[in-house]
């Protein structure tokens, strides 16, 4: 409890604002979907082209879907994809980054080279190719696997750099000479330093993943069977929401993605600031 209070007291202002934004979007995406009265993806479950009213808070689409409930499902799917991919990317990145930075030698050269190469390769064209090969639409699982493959090097590189500098620190040497095992040194002494960076990186990866999937979805190459923020924008564009001046249909997902991204960025940069402060003070 004291820990949590401490966390809120010394964190910069942007961390608070970011957490608040994430709370709002998280509420929309993780809590509200449970209360959806019908499957919002289903067509003609509501009257078509309604303006906002008491029954339909944000109105309905021209396919007869309730925009509000559709939005909650879209945010949920995007968040789940982002969190799952970021979890695996961070896990692989931290593991391989630590290995490279701490073990060094040939393993380091190989892993660093692999990370540098993967970072230079643009992800979106490869995802587009995959989508084309999967018959024009890339399912969320396939997209997730591909995104993990291209996103682990970002945390990996940073972890490697921190681990390299850690290797020279006194307390690591002390631990080594007092006969602690390599695994124990890594988990007990080096990992605590990496936790802040990894958290910042994790959030950044969530952001990149959701952005990339939505990019694919906006041009209609992501799965149309699941709602994500990107596919919602795609449907709105596809059914001429702009020409029909139905700005809520397209505006709601756009606003959701902007709030989500600004929130994620504020939290990740706030965390990075905090851990660089802490590293300086040690």
């Amino acid at each position: 409890m004291a820990d949590i209070r401490h966390f809120f007291q010394d964190s910069p202002f942007r961390l608070h604002v970011g957490l608040l934004l994430l709370l709002i979007v998280g509420c929309i995406g993780l809590l509200l979907p449970w209360f959806a009265p019908v499957d919002p993806l289903e067509w003609y479950t509501a009257p078509r082209n309604q303006a906002a009213s008491a029954a339909h808070v944000l109105g309905t689409t021209s396919l007869g879907q309730d925009i509000f409930w559709l939005l909650t499902w879209a945010v949920r799917n995007s968040l789940i994809l982002g969190l799952v991919v970021a979890f695996f990317s961070t896990l692989i990145g931290v593991f391989l980054g630590l290995t490279a930075g701490y073990v060094g030698g040939a393993a380091d050269r190989f892993l660093s080279f692999l990370m540098d190469a993967l970072i230079c390769i643009p992800t979106l064209p490869i995802l587009i190719l995959l989508a084309a090969l999967f018959g024009g639409q890339l399912g969320l699982t396939a997209a997730g696997v591909a995104l993990v493959l291209f996103n682990w090097p970002f945390p990996g590189r940073q972890v490697r750099a921190v681990a390299l500098s850690m290797r020279e620190r006194e307390f690591v040497n002390v631990a080594w000479f007092s006969g602690e095992s390599r695994t124990r040194i890594l988990t007990r002494h080096i990992f605590p330093y990496l936790a802040g960076w990894s958290a910042a990186n994790f959030i950044n990866t969530v952001l990149v993943v959701i952005a990339t999937e939505s990019a694919l979805a906006v041009i209609g190459l992501s799965s149309a069977r699941q709602a994500t923020i990107g596919t919602m924008i795609y449907w709105a564009l596809e059914y001429q929401a702009l020409l029909a001046k139905r700005y809520v249909w397209i505006g709601a997902p756009v606003l959701a993605i902007v709030l989500l991204f600004v929130g994620l960025f504020l939290v990740s940069s706030g965390l990075a600031m905090r851990s660089s402060d802490r590293r300086m003070s040690v």
Binding site: I121, I126, I128, L129, I219, F261
Partner: protein
């Protein structure tokens, strides 16, 4: 000597990046659930109606060749790399038969290059300038406002900015064209005006999204540099603010910015692809998109291989700027 090592090392990394990229491209079609050749043939057959059996076989062979599906796995891999690096031959486009893929790419590339290059330079120079001033006086009101704007703009994806701009300036106020139509005789004023007019919104959407990041990162650099001993010494020596900024802070703050530019070029390329699709801009992004829609695999493999080569090359060129600004590499 150090410079030579730097260049050779970087060239080696470049070649290896290309090899890794092409290896991924080589294996991706092999993981696809459907046989791309069969899918392609079905598509062609449905579009062109009746086809002779001999024609189908010839097409199948040509497609198998495109995907490098002939011979053993190692033969295939060798042939695939050879085709990309040595001959750069991706066969004819299937949707715009018989125009060669390379010709279509050559037509689209100047547009993407021009758009991305101009937008990147504008955003980089503008962002660094604003960020440098903001970092120099971080407590002043303009600096706070600029940082606030940057924080709200940086995380917003390209296509969102592109959509908002096109809604505002093409639907609500019809100032700019909704889709790109270039008119005018070659080398005429009309043509240049038409190009600038049509490129304005796509370029603006890239500049707006990228610019925030440069402000944020150069501001952090400048704020940190201000505390350094050598800056304090120079200030005590009585140097003017302008001289301090241009001769002391700028060269040091700009170095990491060049590294970041190299790291970001891939993301910016992704963004420009989407921007082009949204604005119907006749570059590489639109070409990739139409290749997907029409199932033109020759064109798709060609454009995507080229994307990887282009991004890797751009990253390397940016890294080569490093010795120009960092004397430690030049004279080490």
């Amino acid at each position: 000597m150090k410079l030579l090592n730097f260049i050779l090392g970087r060239l080696f990394v470049y070649v290896m990046v290309l090899v890794v990229g092409m290896t991924i491209l080589f294996f991706v079609p092999r993981f696809a659930p459907t046989d791309p050749v069969d899918a392609m043939l079905a598509k062609v057959a449905s579009q062109s109606g009746y086809m002779e059996a001999a024609q189908v076989d010839a097409l199948r062979a040509s497609l198998a060749d495109t995907f490098g599906l002939q011979g053993s796995m190692i033969d295939q891999y060798g042939a695939f790399l050879k085709r990309i690096f040595l001959t750069a031959d991706f066969g004819p486009s299937l949707s715009m038969y018989p125009t060669p893929v390379t010709e279509l790419i050559a037509r689209a590339l100047p547009w993407t290059f021009g758009l991305l290059f101009t937008a990147t330079i504008i955003a980089w120079v503008l962002g660094n300038f604003v960020g440098l001033l903001a970092g120099w006086r971080p407590e002043s009101n303009p600096a706070r406002v600029m940082e606030g704007i940057a924080i709200c703009l940086y995380p917003v994806p390209y296509y969102i900015v592109a959509l908002i701009l096109s809604v505002l300036f093409s639907y609500v106020w019809s100032i700019f064209p909704l889709t790109t139509t270039i008119r005018g005789a070659p080398w005429s004023w009309d043509l240049i005006r038409s190009i600038l007019w049509n490129s304005f919104l796509p370029a603006a959407s890239i500049v707006i999204t990228v610019f925030g990041w440069w402000i944020i990162s150069v501001k952090a650099q400048t704020t940190a540099l201000k505390e350094e001993e050598f800056i304090r010494y120079a200030r005590l020596k009585g140097l003017s603010d302008t001289r301090l900024l241009t001769r002391y802070v700028l060269p040091n703050a700009i170095l990491p910015q060049i590294t970041f530019l190299a790291l970001q070029i891939g993301l910016m390329f992704n963004g420009s692809l989407i921007t082009e699709i949204i604005f119907d801009y006749p570059g590489l992004g639109l070409l990739i998109y139409s290749a997907v829609l029409q199932g033109d695999y020759n064109l798709l493999m060609g454009t995507i291989s080229l994307s990887i080569v282009a991004v890797a090359t751009a990253t390397m060129i940016i890294d080569f700027l490093y010795p120009l600004v960092d004397p430690r590499i030049r004279h080490g």
